[in-house]
Amino acid sequence: MSLRNPYKPSEWINRNKQINFMFEGEAFTAFEGDTISSALWAANQKVLGRSFKYHRPRGVLSLANHDVNILMTDGVDTNIRADVVEVKEGMKLYAVNTKGGVKKDKNRIIDFISPFLPVGFYYKAFHKPRWLFPFWENVIRKAAGLGVVNFNYPRILKRKLHTHCDLLVVGAGPAGLTAAYTAATAGLQVILVDENRCAGGSLSYDRGGDSITAEHLTTLLQKVNSLPNINLITGAYAAGYYPDHLIPIVGAAGITKVRAKAVIVATGAFEQPPVFRYNDLPGVMLGSAAQRLIYRYGVKPCNNGIVFTANNYGYRVALDLLDAGTSVSAIVDLRSGAQGGAYGDLCAVEIAKRNVKIYAGYCIYEALATSDRSRVSGAIICAYDDKNNVALADNKFTLDCDGIAMSAGWAPAAALLYQAGTQMQFDYSVQQFVPNRLPAGVFAAGKVNGVYELDQRMKDGERAANDVLNYLGKASVKINVQKSNVEKHGGTSPSHAYPMVPHPKGKNFVDFDEDIQIKDFENAAKEGFDNIELMKRFTTVGMGPSQGKHSNMSAIRILAKIRGLPVEKIGTTTSRPFFHPTPMGHLGGRGFHPHRLTSLHDWHAANGAVFTDIGAWKRAAYYLQSGQTKEEAIQTEAWAVRNAAGIIDGSSLGKIEVHGSEAAEFLERFFTGKYAQQKVGTWRYTLLLDEAGVVIDDGVASRMSDDLFYLSIGTTNAAAVYREMQRCQQMWQLDIGLVNVTGALGAINLAGPAAQKILAGLTDCDLSPAPFPLGHVRETLVANIPSKIIRASFVSDMAYELHSPMDQVPHVWAALLKAGKQHGIRAFGSDTQRLLRLEMGHAMPGVDTDGLTNPFEMGADWAVKMDKPYFIGQRSLAIINKRPVNKQLVAFTLDANFKGEMPLECNLVIDGDNINGRVTSIGFSQTIGQTIGLAYVKPYQKAVGTTFQIRTDNGSLVSATVVDTPFFKKQKEA
């Protein structure tokens, strides 16, 4: 039997387009615009989900994403929120978390044993004996969880955009629409966002059986649509509030991060279910859910309904039900004072006219279920003591029904306000938390502000907009802007102070996500969890996917009752993003993975380079020729450097110019060495420490003129070192200028016995060692490109580092390859470079040091000039110097005939039971014919000739002997 009603102009469905879909193996039809839940409800399907813990049958509760009674999978996606997700042609849907289907879920057995699973039961069982817990844990894990993850789900990268506006209004109900219109009329750029497919908020469903609200909606939408400076975004939600008014708007297509100058939160309120036994049966739903079914989807919530109310709103719901063709057999009003339509409410008067029986001062003591427990079939009703909040169950009677609409009150949708730092206070006139002190630039309007009458909500929207204009200094003469106060609520409270019906048998649910009942709170409190946060953690109330939207307020009221305290003394739990759970594909979105390439990148790629990431740079680690292993490639490249020539692209090196009359002074303060007397045309080693005396980086300073040094810095640290130089200059204010030329200049290192010959053909510079020895620098043309030639010895004594404009480096590279061809030149990569520098005995900061190593331990005493007036780290070194050195970096070799398991970097140096240090660098050197390395040892082991033990991965001990550096003594010229 279909519950679909005839066409209503308010509806969001397109009756001209039918949609076919499957649910649990059965075929159904829907209209375009139906949500999955509305379509199934229209088809009189009421068991649409199973609860998380007890696997109880569940149907529509809020139809607004304020609960997760109905979660589905379509075989691809999981945990689909059927209440708000539109049904699509061909969908094959199943409820999640069932065993054997939603109707016959085998796990429903858990509901019957639920007395054995009281609140926090899992803390109290399964842990003895200890060895059985893994078994129980497995059982529990399988029972918990909701949907099953689809491991083949595609990666989705949603767009993440940034946008800016004067005012963001969240919520396009009467308050939000009015606020946006008012602000936009005064010239503000406004973004108005609403999570629903259509704007209007409660105007789109809360009709009270009349047409006035519909007229308001039409008028407001016309006004809003007429202004070009309002950007109305529907079907997207404000997911959270972040500092300085940053609010991500999450929609189907992606995230828009709105940076607003001011925000109006007009998010309304969540209707709260009253708590009574079996209030979770399919067919028992919130009044607002019933209205949403009626007006948005043209669906009758039920045929014969009872309204259980504790406010005037229930009477509006009753009128809407009647309007939809539902017969209303009774209104059960918790309030004894509501007798005969008291409180002067017009709807109540109208109801009385329609001969609907009103039981004032009564409660639904218990909902009754059909024999298959699949839906509500009636209600047991009795009088209710509104003072002591107890059901007077001695005289109870039963009414049949196939649906119950509940209206007991509201909780403000104040998540964004809380996240923004709003102080809330409890307002007894509306029995609700309302904003007390709002942060600068954040405003509230409408129900979230405790304003409930429609006229007043619109006025409140206007007031909030005026407050914004004042705040932004945009108050214009045209609009009478004055700081006004929120109008106080008159009449009866829209929310009942304690809409709970105790029942000795329980099953009166507070949190539908987690199946939490009143007694769970009582028990938790009795065990000492009587602080709202402790209670939340112990009972898990509000911790499910709907994050307490329909349960937190009840939890607070119950705890207040238990403790005999007023509600405001209980406080609230902290509100955290997200307002609705937000997909990772939206949040992750398109990731930016910036990387830097040298101008030789294409050449490397074309020549078999295997790249490695060093900081943002992609560097060639080695070049793999066909059939080679990595190790073979490295050895081939190293062999070329030792016996012919090699070139490496060093363009990722940090390169910094220090100009100015006090450039040498700057270097003397910044590094450990001395530079004042350094001759123009030479370079010196640089060692940088931090203030604690720890080694940070090393490099080379070339003096190009009296007032210009050219620094080469390791790739990894280049950006940080430059930044630190800038910071020091801020403090020291020397007559210098820093120019970072890292990206502007490239570098090639040409090394090997044939290096001089190769280079000689490309430059006029006299390269012979007498005029141009190691340690010197020249500026000249290389292959007609202006370049610096630095005779550094990092990988070889016979090496020339060529620094040229980045875009000219390929030209120089090609010229070198061409000139070197007859000498057997070969490109080598950064992994090979590490072996070569090891052969030279150079320790590398970051590889041969860690975050605590000082220069004495590293063996760089010679580079530290303690007799200078100052350098960074000097004072700490003076302290460290008074203490014995605890470890020492030494060079070692393994026996030339060593054949066992090769020690690896970070294998430990072991002496008996003690860890004495670790290997920091190790490699087999073909040139030397031995395995060589650097390791930390205890000072008693540092003398050349000492042997020490390295323990390999498999536990065997390998003897190593301390030797002098460099391993590779002297390059013979070819």
């Binding site: 972040y242 800038q726 801020q730 004072r875 302290i879």
Partner: protein, 92 residues
């Protein structure tokens, strides 16, 4: 994301900045004791309150000082260290 105002480049989201720690003038290393120096190097004013801090605007390479309350995360003002030093000179 929070906004921070670079005194040269204006207001930008925090992702454009690098935190450089508290601005802490060092004691005179020639006259202070070892313990004083060790305390300077390692210890911090960890309690919440108004602090002077180094911040670096990455895209422009600008170091500046921000006076920020570490409890409320509110920034009272930002300025270049040199400007502040000059101001202090002038007022002497």
């Amino acid at each position: 994301m929070k906004l921070l105002t670079c005194p040269v480049n204006g207001t930008r989201p925090l992702s454009e900045f690098i935190f450089g720690g508290e601005y802490r003038p060092a004691p005179d290393q020639n006259t202070c004791t070892d313990a004083e120096w060790a305390a300077y190097v390692h210890n911090r004013q960890g309690a919440p309150g108004d602090k002077k801090e180094w911040w670096y605007h990455s895209p422009s390479g600008t170091w500046f000082i921000a006076e920020r309350n570490t409890l409320t995360d509110k920034v009272a003002r930002t300025y270049l260290l040199a400007d502040a030093n000059k101001l202090a000179e002038d007022s002497k």
